[in-house]
């Protein structure tokens, strides 16, 4: 019970911080719109509709990366991770709270991105939306953990894409597959398996990333 209260307190903290600072979410929104516009120029006339679906997923992944790069920004810049790590709560609660907050940001960015995509390119079906929903979980779960790793490194923001992109391959496959293949069930299943496995391993190993 206290675990859930800890997670809630931490997630609330992150959402409140964003509400005050207002830097991450507007950047993500602007980025995803700009990306969708750039893609128009990146698709030669003979490209299929399916190619643009693929680019939607590229947009989502990179927008998420933008947000994730800021995930532990306050904690890193002001040494605040110490304050959280010293608290008696389970360290994995830090991860879970942060993941929830990131999920909120990503969903909000997609609430803008998906209709805009439908406007610029082509309609979006239910399987695409289901794919996006499932992919969000995986992206935020793994991304938050990797963001903590990147925060500990000297290279900081530079590390995150390097760490994240190989791990994003199954997400992209699952997402694009769900968007373009008629029998999307298998791809949604892939995303579900990815989410389950990587969420558990991220949850369990976060403690070791932030402590000695």
């Amino acid at each position: 019970m206290t675990y859930i209260r800890d997670v809630t307190a931490l997630a609330r903290k992150d959402l409140l911080l964003e509400l005050r600072a207002r830097d991450t979410l507007p950047a993500m929104l602007l980025f995803v719109v700009a990306a969708l516009v750039v893609f128009h120029f990146a698709l030669p006339g003979s490209s299929s509709q399916l190619a643009s679906k693929g680019l939607l997923w590229v947009a989502i992944i990179f927008t998420a990366l933008l947000g994730l790069a800021r995930a532990f920004a306050a904690e890193r810049e002001q040494g605040l991770l110490d304050g959280l790590v010293l608290a008696p709560c389970d360290r994995s609660a830090i991860w879970l709270g942060k993941t929830f907050a990131m999920l909120m940001f990503l969903v909000l960015a997609e609430v803008v991105a998906l209709p805009l995509y439908a406007l610029f390119y082509s309609g979006i079906g239910w399987s695409t939306i289901a794919g996006v929903a499932l992919a969000n979980l995986g992206i935020c779960a793994v991304g938050t953990l990797l963001a903590a790793m990147a925060a500990a490194s000297r290279a900081r923001e530079l590390m995150l894409p390097l760490l994240f992109l190989p791990l994003a391959v199954p997400i992209v496959v699952g997402g694009v597959g769900a968007s373009v293949v008629a029998a999307s069930g298998r791809y949604l299943a892939l995303l579900a398996v990815y989410d389950a496995v990587f969420a558990i391993i991220s949850w369990a190993s976060f403690e070791y990333v932030v402590t000695e």
Partner: protein
């Protein structure tokens, strides 16, 4: 007892014997493949190297788990060396695979080989391992982070393989059929010897690098103690 203390010598010896045996078998004994000709012999290098790379990553992940769980002092270094070796063998897998593709089908790269694509993804992943490791100051924090990342890698292997297989349905590459040769007895035997040779070689290199790094560490500690 002698074996443990002289692991390096023992594995180097085994490697030397097995590699020689493998080369002899591959080039002089096993019959040339009816369909693909002489170039098929790369298979006897390519696949064992790939399998050995998996073993290295697996061993690295095992040592990483040990580090997080029981904290034996040498586990982090052993994990690092195993993964380093895995990346070397992975690079060799990509190179031999590419050569095989060139020789067999005239192209340097193909997306239709699941093995090759998987290794490309893994290569990127483990290359990032080194970038991560070099960007964190040495200490308990770096050891922990490296260990967690190594565990992520080993979990990524099956899931990536699944993803790549599923991706084929919508990527529609021109499929080059490379049916692994029907393994006649002699071929299977040669393959096994080659695989054993690769494992022995990997073990020898592992022991060698480990010994070198341990010596580095001891020298550094001695130097500090004298200051």
């Amino acid at each position: 007892m002698w074996l443990r203390n002289n692991a390096l010598v023992a594995s180097a010896g085994a490697a030397a014997v097995l590699v020689c045996a493998a080369v002899v078998l591959i080039f002089f004994w096993v019959p040339v493949d009816a369909d693909q000709g002489f170039s098929q012999k790369i298979f006897y290098f390519h696949v064992p190297i790939a399998l050995t790379a998996y073993l290295c990553f697996g061993w690295g992940a095992w040592k990483a788990l040990l580090h997080l769980w029981k904290r034996p002092p040498g586990a982090d270094l052993e994990s690092y060396v195993a993964i380093h070796l895995g990346v070397i063998f992975g690079a060799l897998t990509l190179i031999t695979g590419s050569i095989w593709a060139r020789v067999s089908w005239g192209i340097w790269w193909t997306w239709s080989s699941r093995q090759l694509v998987l290794f490309l993804v893994l290569f990127l992943f483990y290359a990032a391992y080194f970038m991560l490791r070099y960007s964190v100051d040495p200490g308990p924090a770096r050891a922990n982070i490296s260990a967690v990342y190594a565990l992520f890698g080993v979990v990524l292997i099956p899931i990536s393989f699944l993803a790549i297989r599923l991706a084929e349905d919508f990527i529609h590459p021109t499929v080059f059929t490379s049916r692994g040769p029907q393994m006649a007895g002699s071929m299977f035997f040669t393959f096994c010897v080659s695989w054993a040779a690769m494992i022995a070689l990997a073990t020898a290199l592992y022991q060698l690098e480990l010994a070198g790094k341990r010596m580095d560490r001891t020298l550094r500690e001695l130097r500090e103690a004298l200051e």
